[in-house]
Subunit: 343 residues, 2 copies
């Protein structure tokens, strides 16, 4: 029998802060990580929610990320802000790069935030939504660890390399998507394994490079990209732009450290911001209204917009708080240490 | 019985120039279009090769594009060059925007070329390869006409919206991909129809929004995107960035004119250039060599890189010239008018 514990967003934040402080995270990291995991929990993205704190604390203990890292913000070029996360979480690096990124995007029309040497465990939608919340269109991508074979290949080489985009909508939630370039999330295969179910034959290869429907063989082999060679191409682009272009690692170079649980070497992240105001000037409002026609046509024919379910969850959580399994709540409390009962 | 005519690249160019001049294209357009169709023919991309001149000339006759259009280059912002193609071919607009795009990308690290009101009939790989040929990474995308249903939808709304990327490789052909976000090219369904073959059930919907294996029903209905909701999301992003962001049309707004063969309203195109030199400074060469490790790993496990077949064709054509069906050659000669026999 399982039951859930309901927390208000404030209670969830307080719990997260206690855990992170107890694990030795610096104040900036405590806030940035808390904002991220509570936003994910609020949107019912459970795997990026409070649950993620367990791994985050464990990785800090193993020395895989530096909980006290002080990001260094570098004005690389008129259109590039670079933030060296110095082996800390990507989230504080993103937060510190956001204002200069906005300033550069609004001045130039387009700008990049390149984050180096970051430990990355968060979803990208919250970052691109930070941009659309400022009236910018945002793109984000990063390599991960080598779990995915390139199209036509036989071994894991590419990461699950997420790609996210958000577009500002007047008076409403933004248009946002955030997807892995692997055909499914790795956790999905793990769920099939636990349930004793086979997987479709286009999800993964076994360790001899043959398509498999056995989830255990898949986890020991390589996942496949979504959309065959097109998804593989997109994933390769992400490796290049969020790797060598910014002087950072490729997914296959971080795999050994990931498998060992030590986190390092970490990798990079690339965020691109485009400013509709700079593109359109006085026609900006008209341009954003023009985009609405596309969404109206989609909804009018019964298509869903990506993230709709997440926005519904958000609306619900803002009123009712968030629910997590009691067992997870106990595990989190145990990490909160002596000050576990007070904020 | 069919046979082929072999032309040297110079002969192919001369033929293209005669056709375009005879159809009243201005000198700049003659050169830009000739470079594009002969490059495609050289790479054995037949549908974008000399064959494309037939449609190009026909559209000019119908008033769908202006063969004498003079593009206007606008310095929109430090990171944006905008070119109003004024209802001419996109190719001359791209050519005129290329130098300022390069200059902005090298100064800022990233820059955009936004082309407005262009008639678009060329493949994007030649444009992103123009960028990688200058040592830049290039991305290009454009809406087309509404042939594709969004994920979960029932009617055509999105274009086949191509997405292309090229990355400079030291001493060799670039890493380039260029794919439609529809599951296949529309011509592929047409080929199945002609051959009396059924199509896979994930390619298209009939006019009632139901999956169909009948190519005729598919052509009257809507194509699907590659990679299900992920491809649909990517296609939607292309609509937004190469449409409303640059003050230009969505695919469904150009559909009626396309069906009528009049071409207008035309649409836009978005090109993004990123400068490795500006990102990496003195580490640029090392960064490009670092990227090579990814390609080596791919090739080492038997995966192909996209465009490899095209580069092989290029190498062959540079030596042996290009071959086109005799019937196409006759049709092209007929368009070349009185000066059809001399350059």
């Amino acid at each position: 029998m399982t039951h859930d514990i309901t927390l208000s967003l404030q209670e969830a934040q307080a719990l997260s802060r206690r855990i992170l402080r107890h694990a030795g995270f610096g104040t900036g990291h405590v806030e940035a990580i808390t904002q991220s995991v509570v936003a994910a929990q609020r949107d019912e993205c459970h795997s990026h929610g409070l649950y993620r704190l367990l791994g985050c604390v464990e990785t800090a203990k193993m020395g895989g990320l530096d909980p006290q890292a002080v990001p260094e913000v570098i004005d690389q070029a008129p259109g590039i802000v670079r933030v060296d996360a110095r082996y800390g979480s990507s989230l504080l690096a993103f937060e510190q790069g956001l204002a200069p990124l906005r300033e550069k995007a609004e001045r130039n029309g387009i700008a990049v935030l390149a984050i180096n040497h970051c430990f990355h465990f968060s979803a990208l939608w919250s970052e691109v939504e930070a941009l659309s919340g400022m009236g910018l269109a945002g793109l984000a991508m990063n390599p991960t660890h080598a779990f995915v074979a390139p199209a036509g290949g036989v071994r894991a080489l590419l990461g699950t390399n997420p790609f996210a985009f958000s577009w500002p909508r007047p008076g409403g939630n933004p248009y946002t998507f955030d997807f892995a370039t692997s055909v499914v999330a790795r956790g999905e295969i793990e769920l099939h394994r636990r349930a004793g179910k086979s997987i479709p034959d286009n999800w993964a290869l076994d360790d001899r490079g043959q398509p498999t429907t056995d989830p255990t063989a898949a986890l020991e082999g390589a996942m496949l990209t979504f959309g065959s060679h097109k998804g593989s191409a997109l994933s390769t682009m992400i490796e290049l732009l969020a790797g060598p272009l910014i002087g950072d690692a490729l997914s296959h170079e971080t795999q050994a450290a990931n498998a060992a649980g030590t986190g390092r070497p970490c990798h990079g992240e690339l965020v691109i911001a485009l400013s509709p105001k700079t593109f359109l000037g006085e026609q900006c409002e008209a341009g954003l209204l023009h985009a609405e026609r596309l969404f109206e046509e989609m909804l009018g024919q019964g298509a869903r917009l990506p993230s709709q379910r997440r926005f519904q969850a958000r609306s619900r959580s803002l009123k009712e708080g968030v629910s997590i399994p009691a067992a997870l709540y106990r595990d989190l409390q145990a990490l909160a240490g002596e000050d576990g009962k007070a904020d």
